[in-house]
Amino acid sequence: MSDIIRDDGRKFDELRPIKIEAGVLERADGSAYLEVGGNKILVAVYGPRESYIRRLLEPNTGVIRCRYNMAPFSVDDRKRPGPDRRSSEISKITADALRPALMLENYPRSMIDIYIEVIEAEGGTRCAGITAASVALVDAGIPMKDIVVGCAAGKVYDEIVLDLSEKEDKEGQADVPIAMMPRTGEITLLQSDGDLTEEEFAKAIDLAMEGCRKVNEIQKEALMKKYSIE
């Protein structure tokens, strides 16, 4: 690996500054707030509860539903409120990313709702949303096999680097966001956009997994802080 220094002074395997707080909302069953780089993400969890939408319920298992949403003011050009195709896709794959850690079979006919609000966006919101959502799920007291964590690697100026900023994402050549369960190292989300050789891809996935492990430490600290004080 090279020892390039990036635009914002980070090393190739360095995360942006990251801050997580658990239990930030009163009404929600669980919640978390996360800042990473210029991203500000708020997550609330409700459930397990009976759904008001009966056709979504399943007799033998619980159901998880995610809603990833960007605030109109979270980006440079105001975004129209409400879901669009991008947010629908992210909502879907975020649910897929979190589901493996939940023991949904214990909650037949129930629904767990996860609301991810991007208050401000600066590259990498889908991974940040997953990371924050896991903390909120723990805060809600929902038992999990593991704390899912998200992080991306990518390719910028022909180098594989960790945790792309918005600027790097725009100027870069590839972005590989993943989510994983740190205990087993299993991958629960994987996307790849842009140009990568097979070798570069392998490098990127290793780096992203390493990033996930680092972020996972910060998740745990946030939960310790919350639950040791109380």
């Binding site: 909302l25 009163e26 009404r27 929600a28 919640s31 210029g38 500000k40 708020l42 997550v43 609330a44 409700y46 509860r49 008001y52 809603r67 949403n69 605030a71 109109p72 003011f73 979270s74 980006v75 440079d76 050009d77 105001r78 409120p81 409400g82 709702d113 609301y115 609000e117 208050i119 401000e120 966006a121 600066e122």
Partner: protein
């Protein structure tokens, strides 16, 4: 809105009947209020307001657009409110509910009718280009009295909004990359919300007070004591005396509220 158990209902009504409240406040007392501004770097104006456990965020984004035909030299305000499902287990995702529309419109009318934003200064070229301000309210935690929290948030955000300088060069609009100007504001405003419980008017209701109340009254008052907006809500009527009492108290309370700005 959630159903309140009959026992809670009676308890709240009894308390209020004795001029007391669940959380120990007086009937004319607000919960703790905190206001933070410039909380969103990408928004030209923003604020986060808490009243007790209630929490809202507002962001203001400008956009160049055409003026309305009947006001060719005035900028445009657009207030939008999302009662996010995150904020309350009974809020549902989807298009804005009637409650959400009412909330946005009442908050908007306060700002609009008090004429505190100098809309003529948002005109770039008469009849062609004006600034439109999108005021987006994000309700993130609902512990009662969203109205007053939203109005305070909008007021605080407007006061800190900076717009880019736009000029006309060769018949085209040119937006300066770094020069900005403060949104011109000539007044301040707060909304005081009351609910009627028994025969008392109670200010800044909590969620459980809202759910046992028979009626609601929002009173928008400017710093200088002028009434600029009102709205009655709820299933039961108010008497004229209820209304005059609330208006009178709102004029006093507004002076307190705007000190938080």
């Amino acid at each position: 809105m959630e159903i309140v158990p009959e026992i809670t209902r009676r308890s709240i009504e009894n308390l209020v009947g004795n001029d007391k409240r669940e959380d120990g406040r007086a009937l004319d007392e607000y919960r703790d209020i905190s206001i933070e501004t410039n909380v969103i770097s990408k928004a030209e104006g923003s604020a986060r307001v808490k009243i007790g456990g209630t929490q809202v965020i507002v962001g203001i984004k400008p956009q160049l657009g055409s003026p309305f035909p009947d006001t060719p030299d005035l900028g445009v305000l657009m207030t939008n409110c999302e009662m996010l499902p995150m904020a309350d287990p009974t809020f549902e995702p989807g298009p804005p509910s009637e409650d959400s529309i009412e909330l946005a419109r009442v908050v908007d009318r306060g700002i609009r009718e008090s004429e505190l934003v100098e809309l003529d200064k948002l005109c770039v070229e008469e009849g062609k280009h004006v600034w439109m301000l999108f005021i987006d309210l994000h309700i993130i935690d609902n512990c009662g009295n969203l109205f007053d929290a939203c109005e305070l948030a909008v007021m605080a955000a407007l006061k800190t909004t900076k717009l880019p300088v736009a000029t006309i060069v060769d018949e085209e609009v040119v937006i300066s990359e770094d020069e900005t100007f403060d949104l011109p504001i000539n007044n301040e405003l707060a909304l005081c919300t009351f609910v009627k419980i028994g025969d008392k008017m109670v200010i800044d209701p909590t969620l459980s007070e809202e759910s046992v109340a028979s009626a609601r009254l929002n009173v928008g008052v400017t710093k200088d004591g002028h009434i600029c907006s009102m709205q009655k809500g709820g299933k039961e009527p108010l008497t004229k005396d209820d209304i005059l009492f609330a208006v009178n108290l709102a004029v006093t309370k507004t002076k307190e509220l705007v000190e938080h700005l």
